[in-house]
């Protein structure tokens, strides 16, 4: 059934992004907000808005009962969860369905299957997707862990079955490490996720992070090519590209096809991302996890394929089949997104909430800034530090970087410290310019003082 009244169960830039897509489709938008967010841009842009509680996310955006009560009160017929908060909560998806509304995303069962990393690995393996050598299922005892680790080879990563987003990972270099770390990892996973289940994977040295954007309608699935997201700090992506210039065409095709195979194996419905580690030396790629939601970095895929992924997921949730076949999807040029965070890169990335006293947004062909700022807006301290995403599209990677430099120089956000200086320094780095980096590259680069070195005095 087509969506008429959409509740946006999120905040910040993604709420603005969803409102824009929904309005283009003629859908009435209803924005939830916490007591700290009554002035946010999404509240001003939405057709209607409703307060759901106190500032802390556990009392508002993470509170299933309050979000559902707001959806019922506002007679919504669908709920878009965005990313983060409740986007990958199977309980939330079930609660939405239970009150007779459409959840914009895959089924609760799929969210649950993919959210459990052990079951996700098993599904990927069955679908023919290469997985990192590791334990077949959960590890029950330290002796089991030692036996499996000896088979797959050290170093091994100890991961929480219920984890994700890089949380709860430990790396054991040898059996002594493993025997010391496994009980800690179990206790930590129990505390953090309420589930002490662990599994092991071989630790791949200096891999790249490459992911594939997919979309399914419950029967068919298509991909929108790959993204390169190796520039990370504390396992958080900082800079993302579409596509991955390190891949040869045969590897790219194979990678994208395995993502589609995985999506079709679970009759995937909605937008999703299949994440891989890529070993550049051997050209091997391995499944790490599937994120069952729209991702922060989706705009780079939109720029290169020309398809509005958020509109597409709303149409599919409204009951339509995929609007495009794989053969209709082509990509042109190269796109880069950099995350603009309210943090001081010169002070160990200390968060810097505050009032935006001035704002100049770059524009022009191939430049896009997804954000939720306006002059006079006070960024609340209670949520993520992401305040915007600067996205550029060029005819090739070199052209995209040149556009990025101009856009970063033009972007002015007064009153705050932001990560703009970090991105400018990266655009001047020879390794970044050559595309030579991996997931372990950025932190040592920062530790070596390159941020200051790269700055024009």
């Amino acid at each position: 059934m087509a969506i008429n009244r959409l509740l946006i169960a999120n905040r910040g830039e993604i709420a603005v992004r969803i409102i824009r897509a929904a309005k283009a489709l003629g859908i009435t938008t209803i924005q939830v907000f916490s007591e700290a967010d009554k002035d946010m841009l999404a509240v001003r842009l939405a057709d209607e808005a409703i307060c759901i509680g106190a500032p802390h996310a556990r009392d508002s955006y993470l509170n299933i009962d309050k979000v559902i009560a707001a959806a019922v009160k506002k007679s919504a017929d669908a709920v878009h969860p965005g990313y983060g908060f409740l986007a990958e909560s199977a309980d939330f998806a079930r609660a939405v369905i239970k009150v007779g509304m459409t959840f914009v995303g895959p089924s609760a069962d799929t969210i649950q299957q993919m959210g459990d990393k052990v079951s996700a690995r098993a599904i990927a393996r069955a679908a023919g997707v290469p997985i990192v050598p590791g334990s077949v299922g959960r590890i029950d005892s330290v002796d089991d862990a030692a036996r499996v680790a000896a088979e797959i080879g050290y170093p091994v990563m100890i991961k929480a079955a219920a984890g994700g987003g890089g949380r709860g990972i430990r790396i054991a270099q040898n059996e002594d490490d493993l025997r010391a770390m496994a009980p800690q990892a179990k206790a930590e996973a129990e505390a953090a996720f309420g589930d002490g289940g662990l599994y092991l994977e071989r630790s791949i040295r200096a891999p790249r992070h490459i992911e594939v954007q997919i979309m399914g309608d419950g029967t068919d699935a298509v991909h929108f090519f790959e993204r390169e997201c190796s520039l990370q700090r504390r396992r958080q992506k900082v800079w993302e590209e579409a596509g991955a210039t390190c891949l040869d065409e045969a590897t790219r095709q194979h990678l994208c096809q395995t993502a589609v195979a995985l999506a079709e194996a679970v009759q995937y419905c909605g937008a999703g991302t299949v994440e891989y580690l890529y070993d550049e030396a051997s050209k091997d790629f391995y499944f790490i996890e599937m994120n069952t939601r729209i991702q922060v970095e989706h705009p780079v895929s939109e720029m290169t394929t020309g398809i509005d992924l958020v509109q597409e997921m709303l149409c599919i949730a409204g009951g339509q089949p995929l609007s495009v076949a794989q053969s209709d999807i082509s990509k042109t040029g190269h796109a880069i997104e950099v995350r603009i965070n309210a943090e001081d890169p010169h002070m160990q990335f200390m968060p810097f909430p505050g009032v935006v006293t001035g704002l100049i947004v770059p524009s022009g062909k191939g430049v896009r800034f997804d954000h939720f700022l306006y002059p006079g807006y006070a960024i609340p301290p209670f949520y993520d530090s992401l305040i915007g995403k600067l996205i550029v599209h060029g005819q090739d990677r070199q052209d995209a970087i040149a556009r990025l430099v101009h856009a970063l120089e033009a972007l002015q956000i007064d009153g705050l410290k932001t990560t703009i200086p970090l991105h400018l320094a990266l655009t001047r780095d020879p390794d970044v310019l050559a595309g030579n980096f991996h997931t372990q590259w950025l932190e040592p680069w920062l530790d070596a003082g390159n941020l200051t070195k790269g700055e024009v005095p």
Binding site: A54, P55, H56, E343, P351, P353, P380, F382, Y383, D384
Partner: protein, 78 residues
């Protein structure tokens, strides 16, 4: 009475984790550099360290409450 202000806006916590007791109790000695609480700002926990020495009197902000930059978090006695 001397007070310890919050350097940042955020959510104030008087304990290191939900299972532990408060950082300071009434009558405790406070040395310069002692942690008296945490402020969670944009998902990062900042330790609030005293810049003055004295005897802990009381917390001025409630546990888990939103605080503004400059708001008093605790009071010290002599």
């Amino acid at each position: 009475m001397p007070t310890i202000p919050s350097p940042l806006p955020g959510t104030f916590y008087i304990r290191p984790d939900p299972g532990s007791g408060p950082f300071k109790n009434t009558g405790d000695a406070v040395a310069i550099g002692d942690t008296i609480g945490l402020v969670e700002v944009m998902k990062t926990f900042i330790e609030i360290k005293s810049e003055i020495a004295g005897t802990f009197a009381s917390y001025s902000a409630e546990d888990s409450a939103p605080v503004t930059a400059g708001q008093d978090l605790a009071e010290l006695g002599d």
